[in-house]
């Protein structure tokens, strides 16, 4: 099992969810946890104006999603995210990253069942 973590643009969350729904065979029950985060990287922060003075935000608003999946689903999950989160075909600076972390165990609180089935 793996924990797929992706930092994406807030505005593409819908697109990513749409893609996930297609690949994770759970219909509309695909599972996902969403964080709103601030990011720093190559992308520049938004410019806001304060009485005529441009102020560049030092952070960019990003959304982080976490998806725990079984190993055989990792690749298609990644592809789904790539499809949904990339700007245009080329992509743009700021599109974000996907991190895959090994998952030692997974428990469904409701039932207490563990491992792959619980994901």
């Amino acid at each position: 099992m793996k924990l797929v973590i992706a930092v994406i643009r807030p505005e593409v969350l819908d697109a990513v969810q749409y893609q996930l729904q297609a690949v994770l065979d759970e219909g509309d029950n695909y599972r996902l946890t969403v964080f709103s985060v601030d990011g720093h990287g190559r992308a520049l922060g938004e410019i806001e104006y304060f009485r005529g003075q441009p102020v560049r935000q030092r952070m960019v608003r990003r959304t982080q999603i976490e998806i725990a999946v079984n190993d055989e689903y990792v690749e298609r999950t990644i592809d789904a995210i790539l499809r949904g989160a990339r700007t245009g075909d080329k992509g743009e600076v700021g599109d974000g990253k996907i991190f895959v972390v090994p998952l030692h165990e997974c428990i469904r609180i409701r039932t207490g069942e563990r491992g792959g089935d619980a994901v």
Binding site: Y49, F50, R51, G52, Q53, P54, V55, R58
Partner: protein, 424 residues
């Protein structure tokens, strides 16, 4: 043209019956001016960082509490008591208003003097509250309180007497200040600048320091200020006509509305052409700039000139706030840039456009008034600067002006007030 005469000897009550219409309008106006202070606290509060929002709002509320009492105890006596050579008012009977019968009418106006006391008191409250904008996010609350008590007593009250009391020397000399462009805005604006310089920059100015936590509050505050300003300006007709709710009040109302609209419009246009983004903060700033600039002229100019006064106000204030970043002093919320500069322009504009009642400004070919306006504004500014230097210096020496670096880092809300603005 009349003005606020020193009250009659308190023994004999003014003759003539009360005019309920004038009284109704002055009561309403006084209430409206009070509302400007919560309005100001929203206007300012929305512009600071979240960790300082309560502290920034509190400066205005503290002024309501502290000066609200000061005015009854001593303020009114100093500003509008029997004149001592045109320099200051004094009347022991007015201390705590103990010697002022509630049915005493005000001068030749058919309104109770207490209503005039209230109306003027609101002006005394908002003036120091305006100053807080320049020193927000770092001034110590206790020092601020000490400062405004001394400043109102030693700077504001005399100034109000000079310009508004019938015996006041600037008034007698013919300086015009319909509703407080000089007494309120220039004095607070320049004092704000002086204090900002004394205090120095916020620890993380500019970058980090500019992150308005809630611009919807700032917009709402601007709306309440606009609303309350009708009382501020149209109520000031009390100095010029009886019944008070008359044609001068109507004129002042009209010019106030017009200047605010024109200034807001022009500030928006400036931003649009300057960097392509007409901001809501710009809208709010334009509104206030226009209101400030029309204040001294409200009852003296024709509505069409209010458009010019408002438009130019946004122009000069916009430049002033831009300049700040150049000069590099830290007037947190541009109290000087808007109130100081806007007030100056207003004083000048009054000299240029005044024609009512029976006045004659530059446009009607007389430069005298303009000269007097310049002189009056400069004298008031100089006086406020000196006063602020002395009082500010005194407070700095005795209690210190600024919070500790750690308090400033953690935010004044939790550090000074033991609260957080939001628990969302």
């Amino acid at each position: 043209m009349t003005a606020f005469p020193a009250p009659l000897p308190l023994t004999l009550a003014a003759a003539g019956p009360i005019d309920s219409g004038s009284t109704a309008w002055m009561l309403a106006s006084s209430a409206l001016v009070l509302l400007m202070i919560p309005g100001l606290s929203l206007f300012y509060g929305g512009m600071v960082r979240q960790k300082n929002i309560l502290s920034t709002m509190m400066y205005s509320f503290v002024a309501m509490a502290v000066i609200g009492v000061q005015w009854i105890v001593i303020g009114y006596a100093l500003a509008f008591g029997t004149s001592v050579g045109g320099w200051i008012g004094w009347n022991p009977a007015l201390i705590g208003l103990v010697g002022l019968p509630h049915d005493q009418l005000f001068a030749d106006k058919a309104i109770p003097e207490l209503v005039f006391v209230m109306f003027q008191g609101k002006f005394a409250i908002i003036t120091p509250a305006l100053i807080s904008g320049a020193i927000a996010e770092r001034v110590r609350l206790s020092s601020f309180i000490a400062f405004i008590i001394l400043w109102t007593t030693c700077v504001y009250c005399p100034l109000a007497h000079w310009v508004w009391a019938s015996e006041g020397w600037l008034f007698k000399w013919g300086v015009l200040d319909f509703a407080g462009g000089t007494v309120v805005h220039i004095s607070s604006g320049v004092s704000a600048l002086v204090l900002a310089l004394m205090l120095g920059k916020r620890r993380d100015y500019p970058a980090g320091a500019i992150q308005p936590n809630n611009l919807t509050m700032t917009l709402t505050g601007a709306g309440l200020l606009w609303f309350g300003w009708f009382g501020f300006n149209a109520g000031s007709a009390v100095g010029f006509e009886s019944p008070v709710a008359g044609t001068i009040a109507g004129l002042a109302f009209t010019t106030t509305q017009t200047a605010a609209a024109a200034a807001a419009l022009v500030w928006m246009i400036i931003e649009w052409s300057h960097h392509g983004k007409p901001t809501s903060l710009g809208m709010a700033s334009g509104i206030v700039a226009g209101l400030v600039a029309i204040t001294p002229a409200a009852g003296h100019v024709k509505p069409v000139y209010a458009i010019i006064i408002g438009a130019v106000a946004s122009l000069v204030c916009y430049c002033a706030v831009r300049l700040k970043s150049r000069l590099g002093y830290d007037d947190s919320l541009d109290a000087f840039g808007v109130h100081g500069v806007g007030g100056f322009w207003g004083a000048i504009a009054t000299g240029i456009f005044c024609t009512i009642p029976g006045l004659s400004g530059l446009i009607t070919g007389h430069a005298t008034q303009l000269f007097k306006q310049l002189a009056g504004a400069s004298i008031a500014a100089a006086f406020a600067i000196v006063g602020t230097l002395l009082i500010g210096g005194l407070v700095a020496a005795t209690m210190g002006l600024r919070v500790s670096d750690r308090q400033e880092r953690d935010g004044l809300d939790i550090a000074i007030h033991g609260e957080r603005g939001y628990h969302l």
